[in-house]
Symmetry: C2
Amino acid sequence: MNIKENIKTLVIKKPLKLDCGKTINNFPLAYETYGSLNENKDNAILVFHALTGDQFVTGINPVTRKDGWWSYAVGPNKSIDTNKYFVICANVIGGCMGSFGPSHKNPDTNKIYGTDFPVITINDMVNAQVNLLDHFEIKKLFSVVGGSMGGMQVLQFISNYPNKASTVVPIACTSSHSAQNIAFNELGRQAIASDHNWSDGKYLSNNTLPDKGLSVARMAAHITYLSKKGLQEKFGRKLQERDALKFGFDADFQIESYLRYQGSVFVDRFDANSYLYITRAMDYFDLVKQFDGNLSNAFKKTKAKFFVISFTSDWLYPTQENKEIVIALNAIGADVGFVEIKSDKGHDSFLLDVPDFLKTLKNFLDKSYSER
Amino acid sequence: MNIKENIKTLVIKKPLKLDCGKTINNFPLAYETYGSLNENKDNAILVFHALTGDQFVTGINPVTRKDGWWSYAVGPNKSIDTNKYFVICANVIGGCMGSFGPSHKNPDTNKIYGTDFPVITINDMVNAQVNLLDHFEIKKLFSVVGGSMGGMQVLQFISNYPNKASTVVPIACTSSHSAQNIAFNELGRQAIASDHNWSDGKYLSNNTLPDKGLSVARMAAHITYLSKKGLQEKFGRKLQERDALKFGFDADFQIESYLRYQGSVFVDRFDANSYLYITRAMDYFDLVKQFDGNLSNAFKKTKAKFFVISFTSDWLYPTQENKEIVIALNAIGADVGFVEIKSDKGHDSFLLDVPDFLKTLKNFLDKSYSER
């Protein structure tokens, strides 16, 4: 696939001091837009993607040739209505869809960074993306919206830039990665690092790919995106193209075949080192600690209107963790709405065709937009 | 470590027809006993071990030099009181602590079996172990007890041999592996198979070991043994021997260090191919299907007294799945007790110092024994 010709890139000239202490500048930030910016420049929504997402939110992703990751929610007349709003989404730094990341060359050495790329944080990601506002001459976004790691970026963004968004929609996320979240991410990282082809991150220079390890990492993550009940209803103990157990180690069960498939298609579109860097950023995310143990302080300076959405069967970022954000906002009298959507589809609910969710998101945005 | 000199082995001469269709005979079954068989030979308890357990239930395991896996529950005056009961435990076939398994040599070819070993089932495991009763001239066991995969063996045993146990104690288990259970096991198998050193299971002949893959498999499984809340309380976001994040990929968090440690010590005591075979046996377990969709029929022929135990925070085999066993027993008017123990320690609760559980198990056994 030729990535470059399909990717719009903004080169960020302004130096960005990263949380790790290093400063980067003249780095690329790949982005995509949908819809049109109005004359007042007050209809822009910055969408943040999750761990394995990218800037191609909706329509056909020109690189993978598949539907954009949020095609259910974003588009003409959809929840995030591109007839009405100007949607911007950037590939996070550390990513592998054009933004500055570990598969880029280090200009100082002319070698691919690999694990010499600086460790980045959610804070670094949003500090890179805020440059898009200057680029489009947008003073204030109508909204910042995102699910999962996208939700973490939403929270970090409004904390860093309290006057740069009118509405704030964190979905299926958390203000601080839990021990179990870190555990699953560490499992994925160890799976990659265990792959003989990973070669301490130097695989691109060696012309090898740690596909097996990355595939195992994806399988592990994928299990956490679905609910136990959802898996049981969808797959249960159904066999894969056979009438009886084969007494071997091929995929007897549909769930095995499904996971293997999820792993195999993932490695075609994602970079193993980016997986390490982005999971690390998620694990480092702790907005509570950033504000000395008081999450409310993260939101003290903003007058934005919040709307927090969780899903009943999400065990990765369960309702309780989403509610902690609501509690912190209520504690300072912020304008906050909250809804828990009933769904058996687990954490992935925000990406899927869950009508209650899609309607709820649309209603919040459209009502807030007409009242602005 | 010299395994052989510490291991008691019974050679099963009688042919055993496996579920896969193959027949095995003259195969070793490694076992251990604790306490003494009384004159009436009616005080024996057959304990079944879980996925990574072995016959060394309590005291110091002579091979690993660590405490036996059920030292909290089994011993003098403990829940399973070895002053009173004669405890027998065998290493499952397919295992790696002396019983017939994939690291043994195929007598026909004089080569190590590897993945040429026949795929075995929970049914095969108990059909091998029932030979221990003849060996000890025990007509009827006082009890069959086991947690997790041990509980599956308990259910299968009493279904196959309805008159061979007076009491039946399945703990933290299920009558049928769920899609999520299969998914996590498949993840572990793929982690092993992805290890360059696994070599299609021929690693012992090649003098290599797929330690990295096996370690990742163990990490994945270990996460499922603990509850989200338990992990959060024990580890949370505590750092490992450092005051601040290091912005690298070493183990910054205690949970990362803990998981890496769990993986690394596991590979010293367990065989990767055995891990494949035993997880496969668990995934194949479906007592409901064995009895044409009616679990009650599995227990119709027995007069044994059942006691089912589950744990509140066990998300691998949640209370609901344990209750389904109780419901099936109640439907045929069987003698069944059930208790859900409150614990934050997840699935591993049955192995740990959970006083309510240990007391409950002791009370059931001792009361049933005095009433027999």
